[in-house]
């Protein structure tokens, strides 16, 4: 674009107005539309449930806000699990009341077990599945506790609760699908494009790889959450029927290939940083020479149109074939292994980028023309790992909170004690699945207190003063609904908006008839806030999850992976190993209190584990292919296994010696074992480098 100086002022004004408008359209308009959608859905839910004279219209309104999401696929997905969770909770309530209404001790015992199970499952599972379990847990509180004195009313409250949730869900899904629907697949396309361009930029930039500063603040969480997040969105897009299966397969495939590429690239970066410190300049130069042609190809592509893509892919294909043949000439013999391993990673980056770019091109073509250029049949399996200690801790906390609040209710004999129980159980379940639970509870409390004031304003001033029927009621609550809708679009406000929504809808008097009085209002508010405090206290007390424990657990799991791979079936997918690692790191960094420094460490551990594990698998596959009985290689594998089972210095030395002698003896043999040599030298380089391997050391937590 021309600089604005040389343009007539009216023209530049027009352009700036146009730019501003476009920016508004991209950034702010979606928020406004979302607010409008959330408000309309909630109003619709109110009208429907009041017309049907359901017992508690507030549950329906509340449901719309809980399941409302900017994209339709997310709404469907969350609604689906909310329905399942509600059904499970309602059935459980009927069973519990039927079986133990006369037996308080057994009732409390099984209640605590149920809450423990659902809390554990909520932590164990991902995405909205976890939300389903959360709901199955607290529905029991909402349905069973109020009728504990009159057990026969259980059917009444169970059916009305279910109908209200259904009305809310139907309103939310219909509104989000009909009014300005936003598809997950569209946002996936744009995020995929952004990701591809980022990869392109960082691979084409040589200085990002060579001579890079030791960045302490590497965005570790981003490294894992990117892949895990895209996977989550792709999973939820199952619920958008228009996103056909082929599309989803492509996205999963792209995600997997990106994951491989990013692992290789980060490993290469780590190793090069180490080589720059340890090895001679000639090695670094040789590596640079090896990488430069690849970067040049990327730099020569100006734009991503059809021709540019075809050109790039052709050039890369040529390059891929020629990279193998380059052999270093003037290298010191003891640096040969180092060079060899880094060179191997360079060729892998080129190969994997080629594959990734190919799939991306195919995906773009599919999106634009509907033509399939590359048929995908393989379903990628994305594995997750949740630490059992984390799960057990969550279950303990959930049941503990329930028992303490139960005791509070029984000892005080307070009529509204059930509200305290419900609130604390809700928080124990819901917040347990969010990152940084303690902060979230604090924000929840803030939101709840603000909601109490707003609800009081409505209950005692606005509703009695200004409303006469359901239409005027709808009119006066629009501002609150819009505000809540706005809050839910801000990720920073998650805890606050949850607290606000929960308390506002439990304290407001948007019922069929006006029935609130100041005493009840005060008592129920205090009961709810007490529940929040109990749950918050539980998060402070039951949290002996420390940095060193987290590191120990991660190291153990990662080492276990390496040991497992020494004997694993050969057809194991690389993707399942990598996704498992990333998912675990993601889990630990959100739940397990990893500070900045240790998450950097854990990130290095993950990379080295993936590399060593990958190398082991490739060695074994090569041995299998060559059908060669190679005793030395087998011995080395055994040494690796032993070292990672019990990491001691002595075993490490044994392993290094074994690697050394095996590589030496393979060098004199025939050419076919060159692949095995590269893998062995990779393991050796990693073990010798400063990059840490998953072995916990006491001082790394200070």
């Amino acid at each position: 674009m021309l600089p604005s100086k040389v343009m007539p002022s009216s023209q530049s004004l027009a352009i700036s107005v146009k730019n501003t408008f476009e920016e508004w359209l991209v950034k702010d308009a979606p928020t406004l539309i979302y607010m409008a959608k959330a408000t309309i859905a909630a109003l619709l839910a109110m009208f429907v449930s009041m017309t049907l004279t359901l017992a508690d219209p507030r549950t329906a309104m509340f449901t719309t806000f809980i399941v409302m999401q900017p994209q339709s696929g997310l709404v469907f997905s969350k609604s689906y699990y909310r329905v399942l969770g509600t059904i499970a909770g309602v059935i459980m309530s009927v069973l519990m009341i039927g079986a133990f209404a006369q037996e308080p001790k057994l009732f409390i015992f099984f209640f605590a077990i149920w809450i423990g199970i659902t809390t554990a499952a909520g932590v164990k599972y991902r995405n909205f599945q976890s939300y389903g379990f959360v709901l199955a847990g607290y529905t029991l509180c909402i349905v069973a506790l109020p009728v504990i004195e009159q057990p026969m009313e259980i059917f009444q409250i169970a059916t009305s609760r279910f109908s209200e949730v259904m009305v809310g869900i139907l309103c939310a899904t219909v509104v989000s699908e009909v009014l300005f629907p936003r598809k997950l697949s569209d946002s996936l396309l744009s995020s995929e494009r952004e990701r591809f361009e980022n990869v392109f930029a960082s691979l084409g930039n040589i200085s990002s790889l060579f001579g890079a500063q030791d960045t302490k603040d590497v965005d570790v969480v981003k490294f894992s959450s990117g892949v895990v997040g895209v996977h989550a969105i792709a999973v939820n897009s199952v619920f958008e029927s228009a996103t056909d299966k082929r599309n989803r397969l492509y996205l999963e495939q792209l995600n997997l290939e990106f994951m491989h590429l990013s692992t290789t690239f980060h490993s290469l970066k780590n190793i090069i940083r180490d080589i720059e410190l340890r090895a001679s300049a000639s090695t670094v130069d040789a590596l640079k020479e090896l990488y430069t042609p690849f970067a040049k190809v990327l730099q020569s592509i100006p734009k991503f149109n059809d021709a540019g893509f075809v050109d790039m892919l052709n050039q890369l294909k040529e390059l891929k074939e020629s990279t193998h043949s380059q052999v270093p000439i003037n290298l010191k013999s003891d640096e040969y292994d180092t060079f060899n391993s880094a060179a191997y990673l360079v060729t892998r980056v080129v190969e994997e980028y080629f594959i990734y770019a190919n799939s991306y091109y195919a995906y773009i073509k599919l999106k634009s023309s509907g033509k399939v250029s590359k048929e995908l049949t393989r379903v990628v399996r994305f594995k997750t790992h949740t630490d059992n200690v984390l799960v057990a801790l969550a279950a303990l906390r959930g049941s503990g909170v329930l028992l303490v609040t139960m005791a509070f209710w029984l000892l005080s004999g307070w009529k509204y004690g059930t509200l305290t129980i419900t609130m604390s159980v809700v928080i124990g379940l819901l917040i347990g699945t969010l990152p940084r639970p303690l902060d979230a509870v604090m924000n929840f409390l803030k939101g709840a207190v603000s909601a109490a004031f707003v609800a009081a304003l409505y209950d005692f001033y606005i509703v009695p003063e200004y409303t006469t029927d359901v239409y005027t009621l709808g009119l006066v609550i629009i501002p609150v609904f819009a505000f809540v809708g706005w809050m839910t679009t801000r990720p920073k406000w998650t805890g606050f908006s949850l607290g606000f929504v929960f308390l506002f809808f439990s304290q407001s008097s948007f019922d069929l008839y006006y029935k609130i009085d100041p005493t009840t209002f005060m008592e129920t508010t205090i009961a709810s806030l007490l529940g929040v405090s109990f749950a918050g206290a539980a998060y402070i007390l039951v949290n002996f999850w420390s940095c060193s424990l987290s590191q120990r657990r991660v190291a153990k799991v990662l080492r276990g992976q390496i040991v497992y791979l020494c004997n694993a079936p050969l057809n194991l997918q690389r993707g399942s190993l990598e996704s498992l690692g990333r998912d675990m790191i993601q889990q630990f960094s959100t739940q397990g209190r990893l500070n900045n420094r240790s998450s950097r460490l854990v990130y290095e551990w993950l990379l080295t584990t993936l590399e060593i594990g990958g190398a082991i698998m490739r060695i074994r596959k090569n041995l299998n292919r060559l059908e060669a009985e190679c005793k030395l290689v087998d011995q080395t594998l055994e040494a690796i296994k032993e070292y990672f089972q019990t990491p001691t210095e002595a075993l490490k030395q044994t392993l290094l010696d074994s690697l050394e002698s095996t590589i030496k003896s393979l060098h004199v043999k025939q050419k076919e074992e060159i692949h095995i040599i590269a893998q062995l030298s990779l393991i050796k380089t990693i073990l010798l480098s400063r990059v840490s391997i998953p072995v916990f050391k006491e001082d790394s937590c200070r």
Binding site: E177, V178, P181, S241, A242, G370
Partner: protein, 66 residues
């Protein structure tokens, strides 16, 4: 057709089982349409789906309440 029916000793409005059946029908039809790529030719797939559901649900309702 009666307004209420009794299933396994539980009395419920006839609309409820109809709703469940229609929901299953809707999911089936929806997946067929998505598979054949018909949604590409529909201006507003969301609205189309809702309209389809309303049609499916209203037909038996009209029969019950006529």
């Amino acid at each position: 057709m009666p307004l209420d029916i009794t299933l396994y000793g539980i009395q419920m409005p006839t609309l409820l089982p109809i709703f469940v059946i229609v929901a299953i029908l809707q999911v089936t039809v929806d997946s067929i349409i998505a598979e054949t790529g018909l949604y590409r030719h529909v201006w507003h797939p969301g609205l189309f789906k809702v309209a389809l559901f309303v049609c499916f649900f209203t037909l038996p309702c009209l029969y019950i309440y006529h």
